[in-house]
Subunit: 214 residues, 2 copies
Amino acid sequence: MTRVRIDLFASLDGYASSDPTPDNPMGADWGSLTAAYAATRTFRERVLGDTSGAGTTGVDDTYAAAHFEGIGAEIMGAAMFGLHAHPGDPEWQGWWGEQPPFGTPVYVLTHTAPRPAIPMAGGTTFHFRTGAIADVLAEATEAAGGQDVRVGGGVGTARDFLRAGLVDHLHVMIAPVLLGRGGRLWDDLRGLDRTHKVTSEVAESGTIHVTFTR
Amino acid sequence: MTRVRIDLFASLDGYASSDPTPDNPMGADWGSLTAAYAATRTFRERVLGDTSGAGTTGVDDTYAAAHFEGIGAEIMGAAMFGLHAHPGDPEWQGWWGEQPPFGTPVYVLTHTAPRPAIPMAGGTTFHFRTGAIADVLAEATEAAGGQDVRVGGGVGTARDFLRAGLVDHLHVMIAPVLLGRGGRLWDDLRGLDRTHKVTSEVAESGTIHVTFTR
């Protein structure tokens, strides 16, 4: 049975992204949100291609490894793929280099004219879709072949799926920092703790891992 | 050395109080914010006067007991004392009955005309002050005689002290619920994690206890 899964970063005060600057498309605070994840062995291996075995192996790494398990297709927003930062570049292939870490079909939601699919090394193919999120999810679910569909982000796309009641498993890595600015994660999600079972766990890094599962 | 301490409740989405209704002066969501605390043995004993030994004795209770330790004076806002709910009642003595659980001088911040002090059973005396929070804190610190001063709330008063940089220890009990409405705790506190050391711990109840200490 395919589940729809989301992993997100947030600060203790509920900011899931920070305002981009010309020098830093992820925003000045992205590093403090993601530091514990970026320190894990799984991130180093799966995203950076570092097979030396370096990196943390505690609670943060357990969640990081789960992020990559059992995913058959991915959905992401146009901003996460980089269409907003590179609007006029038909050659843009995302931020992840020649071999993106997905290894599955990736459906990029866009309101602009559809682009042809981009097959990449390592099993990733980027598809561009302008339809409703439920329709794109149906297509991704079929492509996932019984595995899970991950909604990769950004936070706006994740919130669209959450508010539409389409998400079976949400995992939030809460960094123990107060940012006071950025994109808000939690607005309009009242009651998610009643439709989903909530767990919380603190990692060695101080990161608070919260999950909502139905 | 007197420290200034605050204990607050919050939801996972950062709401520290809920909008009051005629039937419920603490707001409809107050029960879900405070359920784990209200279940502790310390709360039952110290606030309800239940000496039967009933109540939880885990992590939640450890923090609850710390809340009552070493306090020599208390400061609270007019709303917490009930002046807003009972504006025209010179006989109003707070929500806590004949013997409030403070057992210390309690300084109530008010913008309206000062009232005479109200001595209560059990060592609590309510004083009403219209001055600046730093001045009231100086008076409370002297009254505390080397013990700590607690800023009891509500959230607006707590935030005034936090933003003024007057707080040495903040403890937040984060209930794993999403309220989507109410009084916001975290706004304008960016960087508190840099001036204070942060700890986080999850209780058996699922409550996340976060502390900021300098």
